[in-house]
């Protein structure tokens, strides 16, 4: 395990140094990463210039949901998001090279072209959360859930990216399918789930556990009843959901790796 971390950090550091050779580009891409994600908040702000509540939630509550999910998503994307480039490596034959190097192919995939500029997104989500939290006056006896939900969110999104990568062993020509679940998950969790249809909410609670990234724990933090009347216990199940999905993702990745056939090029 420490070996994996050491490999990861070493390779990440190498990529950051490589990116720093173009300092202007690195600065612009970091700022742009901040701005691109800030646009989603701008959209929320524009929506709330027209209404005081969206599907029963106020601006600060939506910003809280956005900030927690955004933080999880951005950190998972920075650390493991590159796994979704698997199909490119399979097609180019460069994945073969990773398999013969003395390091975990998963770590190599995750850190390949480590995109330091994505810290811009992490910063953006952090700023939104920092603005929303004081206004919400969350009591300390419920605030402990906030770091827990962010960590669980990171695990859930990482597992989704890994599943997306594993799927690309099968769908080498159609990597974009995975985006529907990874980036789609990021989009879905920006808004209170009460916005979406009931069936969709049940689907992301019991099948793809995106509701556990922020929705269920946030209902606890904000002290709100579940609009769908789902069991109260679900609010505390984020760690279990994250762990279960991580196990599924690890199995899928291994299964994909076993059935991998090189393109031979």
């Amino acid at each position: 395990m420490t070996d994996l971390v050491r490999t990861y950090v070493l390779l990440a550091y190498t990529w950051v140094r490589a990116a720093a050779q173009y300092p202007v580009s690195l600065a612009i891409t970091t700022v742009a990463a901040f701005l691109v994600t800030a646009l989603d908040v701008a959209a929320i702000a524009v929506i709330f210039t027209h209404t005081r509540s969206l599907a029963g939630f106020t601006l600060l509550e939506v910003m809280f949901l956005y900030g927690t999910a955004g933080l999880s998503f951005a950190i998972a994307d920075l650390l493991f998001g590159n796994v979704d480039r698997l199909s490119q490596h399979v097609r180019a034959g460069t994945f073969d090279a990773m398999l013969i190097r003395p390091a975990s192919p998963f770590v190599q995939m995750a850190v390949e072209r480590f995109a330091f500029h994505r810290v811009g997104r992490i910063a953006q989500a952090g700023v939104v959360l920092a603005i929303a939290l004081p206004g919400l006056e969350v009591p300390w006896r419920r605030a402990w859930m906030i770091p827990v939900m962010v960590v669980c969110g990171i695990v859930i999104f990482t597992a989704l990216w890994t599943l997306g990568g594993a799927l690309q062993f099968l769908l080498t020509d159609a990597p974009e399918v995975a985006n529907a679940f990874t980036y789609g998950g990021g989009q879905l969790t920006q808004y209170p789930l009460s916005v979406y249809g009931d069936d969709l909410v049940r689907g992301v609670t019991f099948i793809v556990p995106l509701a556990f990234v922020n929705w269920q724990p946030a209902l606890y933090v904000l002290g709100r009843p579940d609009p769908l009347g789902l069991p109260h216990l679900l609010r505390f199940l984020s760690p279990a959901a994250a762990l279960a999905l991580a196990c599924v993702a690890a199995l899928a990745w291994r299964a994909g790796l076993r059935r991998y056939r090189s393109t031979g090029s």
């Binding site: 691109v36 969206l54 399918v177 989009q187």
Partner: protein, 272 residues
Amino acid sequence: MRTPPSWRCPTFSLYLTIFRYGFRRHAAYRAAAVAGAFTNTVFGILRAYVLIALWQARPGLAGYDVADAVTFCFLTQAFIGPMQVFGGTLDLAQRVRSGDIALDLVRPGSLLLWSLADDLGRAAYLFLLRSIPPTLVGAVLFGIRFPAEALTWAAFALSVVIGVVVSFGLRYLVALSSCWLFDDLGVQSLSLVMTTFFSGMILPLVIFPGWLGTLARALPWAAMVQVPADVFLGKADLAGALAFQALWAAALLAAGALATRAARRKVVIQGG
């Protein structure tokens, strides 16, 4: 003496051929296009719910009703493929960096029109595979307001084509910027910011407040999503909408032609 065929004015038939090849080149990646259509559909559904929630809170906001908002939402997803609403660049940028641009500059045709014909071919293919399916799924799941009159359909078709030209004009300038900047990632990300926000992709420009809305509706990005969508919904004065788009398309192509001339003088061919 008769002019040999290769010396005849190559213009139209040449660009038509490039258009066809652009179409066929992208047709080789059918699975990728289908996957893109799937992702666009999923995002269309997610964004539609948000807009529905807003229009339920504020019925009739900005002259749209819920059906208009849902239609708008699926149209934005439909435009992503052909108009590359997520900014992006052209293969050209990569060719500037690899030096292959030297080959493009000696080809028997203008670099600008050559790239445009190729890009229109790409857009035509992606329109079939990535625009029509999400719209149909949206129609089945939520109901979409289709134009009733043939004139609106014709205007919409023209509006989409000009929208693609505007999108091309912007991406061409981004791509050529790598002649000066070597690394165009920064410009690309700025283009992504401007395009997603000011095209109407994230939210309809009609609900942007005050001066921001006025500004957004005057910028070229509006010609990519907001204007064609308004034509489809019958919310726009047709002549005015098409003139607005055509003006920006002409201005961007002119800027592209000037930039190409400047790039020709700038380009350094590293001998082999």
